[in-house]
Assembly symmetry: C2
């Protein structure tokens, strides 16, 4: 079953240019960002390519793309340095000379002037564009992009590789341009349903009927601790696509039960914060093995200061005792990774910070520190409120490594708090 | 200047298969991981492609790659579900029938057995491979990969899209296989130098001579708050490549001065932790706008428990006063984002947790909470030790958004601690 749709001749491709991508020095976040941006515009997008800072291979790729797609969006290689060769390679590929754009040169000079810097000689290079190209102004940097139709029916849009510049130029110039294009053959709308506490295989088995659908399609994939179901519909309008998605979304949410915590840009942190805001309640954290990750996840959400009072990272046992009031006898008798200690940490955070809710996590993230009775991956969670405290012990897969254990522990502690806020059972039905 | 080298006919390409990548639902971390893995093996790598779960377009891509490269490494589409069509599409593309591998079927059945689950009917699908293909066992999942030479001189290696499975299968089977291949034309070694407190343009201007080199090449790029210089050398052996890198690395480190904090996998957190371990000293954190990010960055490093006692996330002013001993009068007179308060937070963390060092950060991450005198992006850092406390106020670019401000604030606080540990000047020479 094909889950990407549409007609390549009508579609777009993304080409990211930069040797650092081929060397694996950086993640290609631009390709992901552009994929989302194109989907949001309803522009079908069938291929992403990465090539290095190599003129010959770049030109090969341009020729191929010009035969396949209607719009090619490129990132990278627009800078002033010698390994920035995107514009020159495009001009060579399609046999167009570069010409100096006085308006662009003026803008670049102005950019340096406002920073009280003199424009380097290389600045002039960025003002060279192929004849007939339309400038995409760069409001935050020196490298402009262009909209160029080197062949009838094939348009290239170029952007710098710096994400902040790409994003600003896209919103300011590319979005209005795309809206004027004849991409009226339909739009693609995608919805992500997010689940915590259920395995991908169990969820896929339960959703077998939906996974077999064709419009909307449903595809499962696993995140870090969470599982997602992507519902994708194609229709004439986004409203019609949403109407196609709605019944499938309702069925899948029902099927996921309490494991379905949100959709699209929701995170466990944002969902928990919204529940707390609705009740005008506050939360405090007490963390050992996550080392501040729970507090950081909560405070990463704008507006979190309304409900997050703060927290205590009690990495050392002395800190658990001194700042959270955990009894030394409990630490000695049960060990730092135990339900009595996790419970005392959650209660301590709640009392010491004067919060309505206290959430605590203590465990062994590894690679060291494990034992036969307390192996790496053993993590205990606790949530305390005026109604008392609950604890959950989990054995996480130690082979996934420290970062995975820490990340999943952050999620699991937030999910425990979410379930308490919603009055849900501790262990969800999926076990 | 071309900064990627070698002969495509000899090289490898990476093909990642999955509609979720084209929809922008996930970052393509597999492409980056494989790029690093190929570079480490000295396998030249010239192109990365992403296509969706679409048999026709996948086959087009396979045909193109078979004409361009010698080895194609693919990820994704090996699962049991109907949108996993990689193996079938490859068999169709090169006109080979699929045959059931009893040994693979047995392994898959065993995988379910150990989990006390019955093998789903779909399990059988994963045991179908093209005639002549060699199985790449999957030690951690059900989906096996394959090494298949559908055409003389063109080899395909397939892997699942699940990173943990890809990594295990790569190390167990792909690495030994690559080592036996005639990729003796030389190896590529890459070194990343990491700088904090210097802009990319200033660093690039100072390193103009090195940026013009051809072997090793030097390429600059900006991270989140940090700047990196990538030195890449090609030689017959990795030793010879290292010898080419050494003098350039030494010049660039000298040139970066105190801004150069490490290389390759170093992070500001790992560098700071190593300095503390050398001195057998401990650290405690006090965080407001970073909300636990500094503590989380430190505790993300294995072994950090030896030096990180913990920290206090003092998001609310009451918590700054109650848990860190910040005077209410200072909070009222100077505001929470001020040098007196940052200083009191660092000293408070140091005293309350009994650490040798205290590091504090307080600021306005936005989007709300800013004012004319205290705009979004204003962040104050403090480090306290037995020798007293130092503070630094920075005005971060508010247009970069909350996450960027929080991430750069984490780095800046760790860099301030690093400079104090090394007895360096507060403001580096780059300003």
């Amino acid at each position: 079953m094909d889950t990407d749709r549409g007609h390549p001749g009508e579609g777009a491709e993304v080409l990211c240019i930069g040797s650092e991508l081929l060397l694996g020095n950086i993640l290609n976040s631009n390709a992901r960002w552009l994929a989302e941006a194109l989907a949001a515009l309803g522009v079908p997008h069938f291929r992403q390519t990465v090539v290095g800072d190599n003129s010959q291979r770049l030109q090969e790729t341009l020729r191929e793309a010009s035969r396949r797609c209607r719009v090619l969006v490129t990132t990278g290689g627009l800078g002033p340095t010698t390994d920035d060769l995107t514009t020159q390679a495009m001009a060579n590929c399609f046999g167009q000379p570069l010409e100096l754009r006085e308006d662009v040169l003026t803008a670049i000079a102005a950019h340096y002037k406002t920073r009280r810097q003199s424009m380097p000689a290389s600045g002039r290079k960025q003002a060279l564009l192929p004849k007939g190209a339309v400038v995409i102004p760069n409001p935050t940097g020196t490298a402009p992009g262009m909209i160029w139709e080197p062949r009838p029916g094939f348009v290239i849009l170029t952007f710098p590789g710096v994400p902040a510049e790409l994003h600003a130029m896209w919103r300011q110039t590319a979005v209005p341009w795309f809206r004027q294009q004849p991409y009226g053959r339909g739009v693609t709308v995608s919805r992500i349903l997010r689940f915590w506490g259920v395995s991908e295989s169990r969820l896929a088995a339960a959703a077998a009927a939906e996974l077999a659908q064709t419009n909307p399609t449903v595809a499962p994939y696993a995140g870090t601790g969470e599982v997602k179901l992507r519902i994708t519909a194609c229709a004439e309008t986004s409203q019609a696509a949403e109407a196609l998605i709605a019944p499938t979304q309702a069925r899948l949410m029902k099927l996921g039960g309490s494991s379905c915590y949100g959709c699209d840009d929701d995170s466990l942190a944002s969902v928990v914060l919204n529940l707390l805001m609705e009740r005008r309640q506050t939360v405090a954290t007490a963390e050992s093995c996550t080392g501040g990750g729970v507090a950081a996840a909560l405070t990463a959400v704008p507006g979190s200061s309304a409900v997050v009072l703060g927290g205590i990272v009690a990495y050392a046992n002395a800190v658990k005792h001194k700042l959270l009031g955990v009894f030394t006898t409990d630490l000695e008798r049960h060990g730092a990774v135990s339900e009595p200690v996790a419970k005392a940490m959650a209660i301590g955070a709640r009392h010491r910070l004067g919060a309505d809710w206290g959430v605590a996590v203590t465990g062994i993230a590894g690679p060291g520190g494990g034992s036969a009775s307390k192996p790496v991956g053993l993590v205990v969670f606790a949530v305390a409120s005026a109604q008392g405290a609950v604890t959950v012990t989990r054995r996480l897969n130690s082979s996934r490594g420290r970062h995975w254990i820490q990340a999943v522990s952050v999620g699991a502690s937030l999910d425990l708090l979410r379930r308490q806020l919603l009055g849900l059972e501790l262990e969800n039905t999926w076990g």
